[in-house]
């Protein structure tokens, strides 16, 4: 079973040389720490920045330079600044190669819910609806089950949707799964020490698993 950093580490293996990547808040942010050496990747922050760097050193924070999570950050050489309309323009026109974000629920047809829980104070969808509707390639980083032990990979989402038919890959503490175009979660890899049976028990949506599902390598 993976911890949050393990999930981030596994997702980082999906990032290829030359990718422009948008990382959501939470586990996705951790992915930046595991981008393989020698791979050139540019991180987008949807408030209006390409070429996001690490957090600043103490005392070097700039109130005018923040990311989409409102954290103080830095820029890397070759970065560019633009307004929020152009930022979502490049998202809609699919110039961003990969979007990584969290989810509360994902359904077996690729729907995602991650912005609203009925009865709770709703803070808003921010850029999530734009990102999931437009991205050509989305990986969801999430826990397989919620705190009550209930599966978050469902036949159909129960929460209000963020986007429909858009998720293609999911990485959880238990597994890597593809969402099939015809519907269903195909088990691609097991987390170290986790059995297919356990993953099946933790997955309420339809799970498709081959006889021999490899264990993931984080190297």
């Amino acid at each position: 079973m993976l911890d949050k950093n393990g999930i981030a580490q596994r997702i980082a293996k999906e990032i290829k040389d030359g990718f422009y990547v948008n990382l959501g808040i939470g586990i996705p942010t951790l992915v930046a720490n595991y981008i393989p050496e020698g791979i050139n990747v540019v991180l987008q922050s949807e408030n209006g920045l390409l070429g996001m760097g690490p957090f600043p050193f103490e005392g070097e924070e700039d109130a005018d330079l923040i990311n989409a999570g409102k954290q103080t950050i830095t820029t890397l050489p070759g970065s560019s600044i633009f307004d929020s309309a152009l930022s979502f323009g490049m998202i809609r026109s699919q110039k961003i190669d990969l979007t990584i974000l969290g989810a509360m629920e994902v359904s077996e047809n690729g729907d995602i819910a991650n912005w609203k829980i009925p009865g709770k104070m709703v803070k808003g969808m921010g850029g999530a609806m734009d990102l999931v509707a437009s991205a050509k390639n989305i990986i969801v980083a999430m826990q397989h089950v919620n705190k009550a032990g209930e599966s978050k990979l469902l036949p159909k989402c129960t929460l209000p949707l963020t986007g429909v038919n858009c998720i293609k890959k999911i990485v959880t503490e238990l597994a890597v799964l593809d969402v099939l175009p015809e519907g269903g979660f195909r088990l691609i890899e097991r987390a170290p020490g986790v059995s297919v049976d356990f993953i099946r028990q933790s997955t309420l949506g339809r799970l498709i698993a081959a006889d021999n599902v490899p264990e993931m390598k984080l190297d």
Partner: protein, 233 residues
């Protein structure tokens, strides 16, 4: 050149009336028009509809106007951590319309570009799509969303000149340029106001034609919402 300079925030906002719709630039607390917000709080105008990506925090930004109950409706993509906001929302004093961040930015831009409506896939199949026209282009569904107009757009820039030209600094640019284009009246406060001719025409982010009033603001606090640092070594 046409001179857009006014004496300060009080003069700039003096004809904003109860019930008006305002756009306020900024993302979180970054690039918000601090001086104009302070003047609005002082002036006490009420029943405002505010179009702004966020709603500030309890004691800064639009949160200050919420404390004075000057806002009737917020149109935002994310209303963040704001206890007074939550209280007013739950009590029914405040109305909120949540819309996707890209849709918000693009609807402002559409007004500035004279486009009455735009198409975006954001929100298709979700509750955001309710009551909206869905249209398929090349096999993909899009929502038709209308241009946003505001009685006043209030933006914050880094530098500006007397002709109303604006230059923004780093990610404090965010929503400011698109809102500057969308106001029936656009007010710009800047950290440094210079004479027309002092800015390189190639560096200008918002041409002065979009800006009706400009002044040099004072005492910018530029509060940081999430101070995140790494340690050396």
């Amino acid at each position: 050149m046409i001179n857009k300079v006014v004496s300060g925030a009080e003069e700039a906002i003096k004809d904003i009336e109860n019930g008006h719709t305002l756009m306020l630039g900024g993302f979180g607390l970054c690039g918000i028009p601090e001086n104009c917000i302070a003047a609005l709080v002082k002036n006490g105008v009420k029943d405002l509809t505010c179009i702004s990506n966020n709603a500030g925090v309890d004691d800064f930004g639009i949160g200050l106007m919420l404390q004075q109950r000057q806002v009737r409706k917020m149109i935002s993509s994310y209303v963040g951590e704001n206890a007074e906001f939550e209280r007013q929302l739950l009590s029914g004093e405040l109305e909120v319309e949540l819309i996707p961040q890209g849709t918000l930015a693009t609807r402002c831009m559409a007004a500035g570009y004279g486009m009455p409506a735009i198409f975006t896939p954001a929100g298709v199949g979700t509750e955001v799509a309710e009551g909206k026209e869905v249209r398929n282009f090349n096999g993909k569904d899009y929502l038709m969303e209308y241009a946003f107009e505001a009685d006043f757009a209030i933006v914050k820039a880094w530098k500006g000149d007397t002709a109303g030209n604006l230059i923004f600094r780093s990610t404090s640019r965010n929503f400011n340029p698109v809102m500057a284009m969308a106001g029936k009246v656009t007010i710009a406060e800047v950290e440094e106001l210079v004479e027309a001719g002092a800015l390189d025409p190639d560096h200008i982010h918002t041409p002065g034609v979009f800006v009706h009033r400009i002044f040099q603001g004072a005492d910018y606090e530029k509060r940081i919402e999430q101070r995140t640092v790494r340690t050396k070594g």
